[in-house]
Symmetry: C2
Subunit: 548 residues, 2 copies
């Protein structure tokens, strides 16, 4: 057989870093200081990345060694994203919002050799280090070395001092595209957190998809406000996609409250932004209290949890288009993006597309599987567990002795997402629930996600989650945990009345509880595990309980 | 060392075809019939592709066998793009504008087993087949089998009859991403045409880049008028990129004259279009005579030959933005795209970016090499031979006995483009000439391309090419072969006067000849080889020759 004449052209992050260093002198990484931005070009980030690589080599870091970060979104984190995988080591981003038990478990499980830590969170890390005897070096960034007290055996360095005087060039020519590059752990709503190891190839292809019209359309004409943390699924791939597209990134550092976020929008006039729904909920509340023009935003990508349709309408009102997207740690994360098809001019029909999770981009294959293990049709009606496959989707979970493919998580090479979904004939996917969050009442299924969205469309409701709770008559019934706008909005009957025309009568929940905040996971999703626990422990004041 | 947990997710055209079949029921391939469109969905194209694969299997086509096409841009050609590589065979697109000698050479060199031919060009192919004894089957498309008379030993089929009754499914699961997929020959301005074999991987990555913001931004909201022929460098990758993005393609079939092109624009209202400069020259002339609103075009991508700055301005006047791009058969072809960087608001500065060939997208590495073999700086001034490398750039030329890497074409793994270029510090590349088209006069270099552009900026000039010709005093001097607007525009002195303020005095050509058309290659570039030959043969009436 004849052979292709094409060059191989390995898909490596080192080549991406070199590309960005040379191609886009005008693009910037801009970190918010509380008052303004400190800017660096990709050339400076690349220089810093090489200095990091040289310094880590001196500390004894070798190919495949894990180098962790415990950091906010900022210039130095971007330089670590550039330098660590490019030298052949594995960047392990630790989630700042983990419980101490989870953090210690993950540092040990990943076998982190070096940890870079922002000074503001160094005391938190300091506590974990008592339980992580294999860590050898800690490097304090954006602050003095004495921001942390480390146990004996761990050498503490100051970042600027560590890289000062190191050469800004490093020979990163020998990486294979299938080598490990970055490692993340799932937030672990059930059981221990699970590790996923992205390869150079997977990240490269994922970055390309972010810059395509199927993805986030990030371009050299864009400034992206990257609110989604770099410690969570690579900030949805933005640090690498920006290097590829030559886009400017605004990094919020630790300033993730609505007020500084709106201040940095005013100062930096981003054209794009990306964050989970809860962030936008807060921004929206402040915008209503203190209006500000945010129409410099062409699109706002929202994912990580389902976007309530009411939020999309709300932002339409600000003149800003929310693009709904879906993904998970296991999918790098871009899995779907909701852009209506060409020629849909009717606003209501268009909206119906926008509230779905969206279409799968090229290279993400998808199917839905029924209870009997059979594939279900894409008819917009049949719902089953969503399974996906492709080059930026994990095919195993990380274990130090060798990666593990567990049948409860994988099905013949496909990732079982745990999401229950429908897919329309034109490929738009809607998550109707987490597999374990469907509520079975009197033999009929209720989608807790759909019910949450409808409850939240009541202007009196700020946010609401729904879980199934035991019921003597119906086996299980929905229970609503809601945050309302004011104390006047705690009348259960008026909430039930609101639902009357919107859901079948048998789906209207009897049990309600009003709180000041719904518990959330480290990545901002409703933490139903904790809600269930609190409910079982009798922690909530339940109104309307027919069994009380 | 730890391993990545990612799935491999092979980059194959078969997976792309299956993806497009399922994901975009609204997208269409629309072939112009002279009066309207005949439409097919990607699902129908996919079905047809599978039928072709089944039919070819019965004809004995095996993996790696070459299946050629001698066809216009139309639905059936798209189905062949889908089906042939997906079954593991190699699609070989034959250029309709080759000379008979070149066509016979190429068919034999590629060892084509089957040729699909459009009925309208079947008589032309019929003549070549006397010299191609290894061809076994010819399939006539869009017409009756008797459109061609084939020599003995070749079985002639009719396309619809061949695929009728074949199953619309085919098992294409076993392709490796590095397998050969599509084959093209260069137009061969010097020596024999050279073959390039694209792989599934190279085409997949190239399609991704077409849909990125660095490429053509082709999306599911777009209709692309694909004027650039499918028989030349895969129509710049559009057939595959459209499958990926879910974009609609308008295929002009054989109707490539300005009048039908404007008719199909009016009927199909494309948002994007792609063609070489000479096509737009014709469209522009007709538009001036008979105005038509073409502002439905968001962008027009022009490449294949340098775009005269005057043309960009002309189209700005129509309210349509020309995007200048550069590439070659050896680069799949996308090599650069000229989009000004963010923040350039001054119109004149922006224009200076738009007339360059543009920036290299991610995965295309570039360097310029001086006469001494040393790399030159990106300072916008130093010019040297442009060399490129990357996964959709050829690393060899096809030879039946094994691909060949010739030092005159490759430099340590990099492709020598033969173009002489400068690159600015912000990465914008400008081709100043073909290496062999620089003119050396009295020890100084003249860029024939720059001179051509300036001469063509004279409103009296329709098109002009410049070659170096022997001169007793200066060794070599520029000679201009031009097409002018009217007979009144043939005064050499007025042309020289026009140049006075625009080029150094010593660069102003003495020798001019006015003709009705400048000779062009099969792909629409000025054919300087033929111009040189004609000049040497004394075929031109040369005005102003100081030696005459």
């Amino acid at each position: 057989m004849i052979q292709s004449t094409m060059q191989h052209g390995a898909l490596t992050l080192s080549s991406l870093v070199e590309y960005s260093r040379r191609s886009f002198p005008e693009a910037r990484i801009r970190t918010w200081t509380g008052e303004g931005f400190r800017d660096q070009s990709f050339a400076e980030i690349g220089d810093q990345g090489a200095q990091i690589a040289n310094a880590l080599t001196k500390l004894g870091v070798e190919r495949g060694d894990r180098v962790a970060t415990f950091m906010w979104n900022n210039n130095e984190h971007q330089a670590l994203y550039a330098g660590v995988p490019s030298m052949g080591a594995v960047l392990h981003t630790l989630n700042l919002r983990l419980s101490p038990e989870q953090a210690v478990f993950i540092i040990n499980h990943a076998d982190d050799k070096v940890i870079f830590v922002d000074a503001t969170v160094a005391p938190m890390l300091g506590k974990y280090l008592e339980g992580t005897p294999k860590v050898q070096h800690v490097v304090v960034v954006n602050g003095p070395a004495d921001a942390i007290t480390a146990p004996e055996g761990i050498t503490v360095h100051q970042y600027d001092e560590l890289i000062a005087g190191e050469s800004a060039s490093f020979d990163w020519s020998t990486i294979d595209e299938n080598d490990p590059a970055v490692m993340c752990y799932t937030s672990g709503t059930t059981g221990d957190p699970k590790g996923v190891v992205y390869s150079h190839r997977s990240i490269y292809l994922h970055s390309m998809i972010i810059t395509t019209t199927m993805g986030m359309r990030l371009s050299s004409q864009d400034t992206m406000l990257a609110i989604v943390p770099m410690f969570h699924v690579m900030s949805w791939g933005l640090p690498y996609a920006a290097m590829m597209a030559g886009a400017t990134l605004i990094m919020p550092d630790r300033f993730l409250q609505p007020e500084p976020l709106l201040a940095m929008m005013e100062a930096g006039r981003p054209t794009l932004a990306a964050a989970v729904p809860t962030i936008w909920q807060g921004v929206s509340a402040l915008l209503d209290a203190k209006p500000q023009d945010i129409t410099h935003l062409r699109e706002v990508v929202v994912g990580g949890a389902a976007v309530p349709p009411a939020m999309i309408k709300k932002f339409d009102g600000y003149g800003v288009r929310i693009i709904h997207a879906w993904g998970m740690t296991e999918t790098s994360p871009l899995g779907t993006v909701a852009r209506p098809p060409m020629g849909v001019e009717d606003e209501e029909k268009e909206f119906a597309y926008r509230v779905t999770q969206g279409r799968f981009p090229s290279l993400v294959a998808a199917r839905i599987i029924g209870d009997d293990g059979q594939e279900l049709p894409w008819d917009g009606d049949a719902s089953g567990e969503l399974e996906v496959s492709g080059p930026w989707i994990t095919g195993a979970y990380f274990e130090p002795e060798g990666n593990v493919v567990d049948d409860s998580k994988f099905d013949d090479g496909w990732l079982r997402t745990g999401d229950v979904a429908t897919i329309t004939p034109d490929g738009f996917m809607t998550i109707v629930d987490r597999a374990k969050d469907m509520i079975k009442t009197g033999g009929e299924w209720i989608s807790s996600v759909e019910l949450e969205n409808i409850i939240a469309s009541n202007p009196a409701v700020v946010e609401a989650t729904v879980i199934g709770v035991p019921d003597k008559k119906w086996d299980e019934r929905p229970f609503v945990l809601a945050v309302v706008r004011s104390e006047d909005d705690t009348d259960v009957e008026s909430h039930k009345k609101f639902l009357e025309d919107l859901v079948p009568r048998w789906q209207i929940p009897e049990r309600w509880s009003f709180v000041t905040e719904v518990p959330k996971t480290s990545v901002g999703k409703f933490d139903k595990k904790r809600v269930r626990q609190h409910y079982a422990d009798g922690d909530y004041t339940v109104l309307g309980d027919p069994e009380a």
